[in-house]
């Protein structure tokens, strides 16, 4: 187990290197001009001399490899550089926003897992029953529905028609103190939408796993011994039915990140994903590279976590190698 963790971490370093270089290469090849987006409307009346000066100051006049190498060497020493689009050090941007993203993603993830598991177990008890059919078709529909579309739908219904929940932001527009109640009420819609959009995968895995487990010999044996339905379901079937879901938890991390990207934009949630969109369209190298490293690390850790969980939960599964 420790060996697997160590090997995966060793492997992560070259992956991260390649990914950051890829980000610089793709950004450099994109038609967007970082100077234009930095200058904004002022750029439309700026002289060429001013624009050239900006290009030199922002350090984007250098070749791709030089840009990347400079970023990398200072990143290793802990200096993530300055974000041009946010006009501040990258480290500040990330520390200020990461927490809100983690809060949103964690709430959504917990909601998706709890909801998916509860519904999955309930549906597996009576395969083909009304609950199974209803939730099953809803899950397939949700799987196909884009998260941003669900978000717009939720805003339209809960914020505009019913007026019960705020349409966006971290707090009310008139208030500028971040209180628990404010954040909690503003978190409900984005977290629910993100959670619900992730729910189908968990539901489908759990339902299948538990339904299969109920057919297995040990469960049949337990039933034959006259154990209560509750013990059979939660004590036997649930535990073996949950195994496939453990792998799912890790592999859903990338989906969760892309989902959060859209949800944060729709709900003007001041998280890291919204900054990623801005960094990408403005070719903000330092910010984009740092955010990509974060996302890649999250995916690698997610995969490692799911493998570890699986190995721990089922002793028959070894740790690779």
């Amino acid at each position: 187990m420790a060996r697997m963790t160590g090997r995966r971490l060793l492997f992560a370093a070259p992956v991260l290197l390649v990914v950051t270089f890829g980000v610089f290469a793709v950004a450099a090849a994109s038609p967007f001009d970082p100077v234009k987006s930095y200058a904004g409307t002022a750029g439309l009346s700026a002289s060429q001399e001013t624009l050239d000066q900006l290009r030199a100051n922002l350090g984007v006049d250098q070749p791709l490899v030089a840009c990347w190498w400079e970023w990398l060497t200072s990143a290793v020493t802990g200096d993530l550089g300055d974000s041009a689009v946010m006009r501040r050090p990258v480290a500040d941007v990330i520390t200020e926003r990461l927490g809100w993203s983690v809060l949103l993603a964690t709430s959504a993830f917990v909601l998706a897992i709890l909801l998916g598991t509860a519904l999955g177990v309930a549906a597996a008890r009576r395969p083909g029953g009304w609950l199974d059919r209803c939730v099953g078709s809803a899950a397939y529909t949700l799987e196909a529905a884009p998260a941003f579309w669900l978000g717009l739908l939720a805003i339209w219904f809960f914020a505009l028609r019913l007026g019960v929940l705020p349409a966006g932001g971290l707090t009310d527009s008139g208030s500028d103190t971040v209180t628990f109640g404010q954040v909690a009420s503003h978190l409900v819609l984005p977290a629910a939408v993100l959670g619900v959009s992730q729910m189908p995968w968990f539901y489908l895995y759990v339902r299948q796993g538990v339904a299969d487990a109920l057919e297995e010999d040990p469960v049949r044996g337990a039933r034959a011994r006259g154990l209560s339905e509750r013990t059979v379901l939660l004590g036997h079937a649930w535990r073996s039915g949950m195994l496939p879901m453990l792998t799912l938890i890790g592999s859903r991390v990338p989906e969760l990140i892309t989902g959060a990207l859209l949800i944060e934009t729709v709900f003007s949630w001041p998280g890291i994903a919204a900054a990623t969109v801005e960094a990408a369209t403005s070719v903000d190298f330092p910010l984009l590279a740092a955010l990509t490293v974060l996302a890649t690390a999250a995916v690698l850790i997610g995969n490692l976590l799911s493998d570890l969980l699986y190995g721990l939960a089922d002793p028959r599964v070894g740790f690779d190698g």
Partner: protein
């Protein structure tokens, strides 16, 4: 490890991440006043957000920045009045020195006094090559700025520049704070301290900017104690949140503002502006560069219909960069829509109508592309209307959408549906649009306009300190534009705002191209008072 301990570990991990969240998200707020009544706070919806709140990077360069004051300010009639200066500047005889005496009772909101050193610091920093201020071109006339004692600042210019005083509305930053950090990315860019009527309480990027009244403001504490600008890019969402009562006022496109016309509790304001839409007719294009084609297009286009249909009536026909309502507008240069005359001009110049209705001359087909910024509905509508009017005169204009990255390399030969407009001085727009030395310099003189008579008049206009002489110079420019129109000016656009009636009748300034943040009826929110 059993399942139980896994659950335990998972719970611990979750608790840890929540605890991390709680510490990482400490509230950047520096405290806020008590929640006032309805009339003591105002929330307005705007469409654009500044990139930075530092004047050193260009924030508030046209005055009116709420957090800061300039040496001078512009009032509701667009006249200059003293702000941090105690009087309008003394201008030297040759027009190259401007001397400002400063008020001595002004403090920055952190309690430190304001002095001449701050003014010198602000201007020198902006002009410094290391400062990423994209608007520094506007201060190109400055040779040097020096302090004479605590309360006098002297600007020396490279050449006589009559509109210079208009540029000194730009906000003054405190040297003792901004001078001690990275000017481009330091904390001052997001947490500024100024001398203005409001203090920043919170800026949540992409969401809102909140202000509270500065109790020690030298010009009196504002009655609106809390002021919030909510950043809502989508027009429909802004209108909905205004209707829902979430906002007290908002900028809206004319068609959405119409929905509030019969609302008893709200008023609609149309701010006149210098915000023009124009078509560049590049000199290097064989068709668009032809004088007869330019003159024909200038009168073939039906500006009044554009105002009615494209702008829903919220705007005026434009005959040049100077709006018809301005004192600098030259009467008699209005272009009257006259298709027959346009056709006559083209016929006389040898542009013969071909079989497909498009004219040709010496084998050149009267056709050129017209680019507009993709996603900009207003520019698209203008471009389509222009192309349709031109078609009637036998000129085939192909409209194409693109981003600036696509458009910019083509500007030398292709037409562009451009916008701009800076109120204050006739020099600002006309010099950068028409001066031949600025042809193709960034986005200046996009049409590569080259007319020696105009160049001469533009120089005369900016150098002379005498208003009569300046007026004569700009009259020449506008008359030359009739003879040789390098651009087809289409409309000046009104900016429409809807605001709750709580504060009585409000006023608006004449607005620039850039809108929604410093302008709007809240240009003087510090002077608002609740209706009794």
């Amino acid at each position: 490890m059993t399942a139980r301990s896994i659950r335990g570990t998972a719970a611990a991990a979750l608790a840890g991440s929540l605890a991390f969240t709680a510490t990482a998200c400490s509230n950047p707020d520096s405290g806020s006043g008590p929640d006032g009544g309805d009339q003591e706070s105002a929330v307005v919806g705007i469409a654009y957000e500044p990139d930075s709140l530092s004047p050193l990077l260009g924030y508030g360069k046209d005055g009116n920045s709420k957090l800061f004051d300039g040496l001078l300010a512009v009032d509701g009639d667009m006249n200059l009045r003293p702000a941090l200066a105690s009087a309008l500047p003394e201008v030297g005889a040759d027009g190259t020195t401007y001397t400002y005496r400063l008020r001595d009772d002004v403090k920055f909101s952190d309690g430190k006094p304001f002095s001449a050193a701050d003014v010198v610091f602000t201007y020198r920093t902006i002009l410094d090559a290391k400062t990423n201020n994209p608007s520094k071109t506007e201060l190109a006339a400055i040779k040097d700025v020096t302090a004479r004692g605590e309360d006098t600042v002297v600007f020396t210019l490279k050449y006589p520049y009559a509109p210079f005083a208009q540029r000194t509305v730009l906000p003054i930053a405190p040297e003792h704070l901004a001078g001690r950090q990275d000017v481009n990315t330091g904390p001052f860019t997001t947490k500024p301290v100024g001398t203005g009527p409001y203090l920043l309480t919170n800026w949540s990027k992409g969401e809102k900017i909140s202000f509270k009244a500065n109790p020690d403001y030298w010009d009196g504490e504002p009655k609106v104690k809390k002021f919030t600008m909510a950043i809502i890019k989508d027009d429909d969402v802004r209108a909905t949140r205004l209707r829902a009562g979430d906002l007290d006022g908002a900028i809206l496109p004319p068609n959405l503002a119409k929905g509030f016309e019969n609302d008893k509790g709200r008023r609609t304001y149309s701010a006149t502006s210098y915000d023009y839409r124009t078509v560049t007719l590049p000199t290097h294009n064989k068709v668009a560069g032809d004088n007869a084609v330019r003159r024909a297009l200038d009168i073939a286009v039906d500006r009044d219909t554009m105002v009615d249909k494209v702008l829903d009536g919220a705007g005026r026909a434009a005959h040049g960069p100077v709006p018809t309502g301005s004192e600098w507008f030259t009467k008699g240069t209005e272009r009257v829509h006259d298709l027959a005359k346009a056709e006559r001009i083209l016929d006389e110049a040898g542009w013969k109508t071909g079989r497909d209705g498009v004219r040709t001359k010496d084998g050149v087909r009267a056709s050129f592309p017209l680019w507009y910024l993709s996603g900009d509905k207003l520019r698209q509508d203008h471009a389509l209307a222009y192309a349709s009017d031109a078609k009637k005169a036998g000129i085939d204009i192909k409209t194409q959408a693109g981003t600036w990255e696509v458009i910019e390399p083509r500007m030398r030969t292709d037409a562009v549906l451009a916008g701009g407009g800076a109120p204050g001085d006739p020099d600002f727009d006309q010099f950068s649009l028409l001066n031949s030395t600025l042809a193709g310099d960034g986005f200046n003189n996009m049409a590569w306009y080259d007319n020696p008579a105009v160049d001469k008049a533009l120089d005369a206009g900016r150098e002379s300190g005498d208003k009569q002489a300046r007026k004569a110079a700009y009259d020449t420019v506008q008359r030359e534009l009739v003879k040789d129109p390098g651009y087809t000016f289409l409309t000046h656009i009104d900016h429409v705002y809807v605001v709750n009636d709580t504060w009585g009748t409000l006023t608006t300034q004449v607005e620039p191209h850039d809108h929604g943040l410093a302008s709007g009826p809240w240009w003087n929110v510090e002077k608002w008072a609740p209706t009794p």
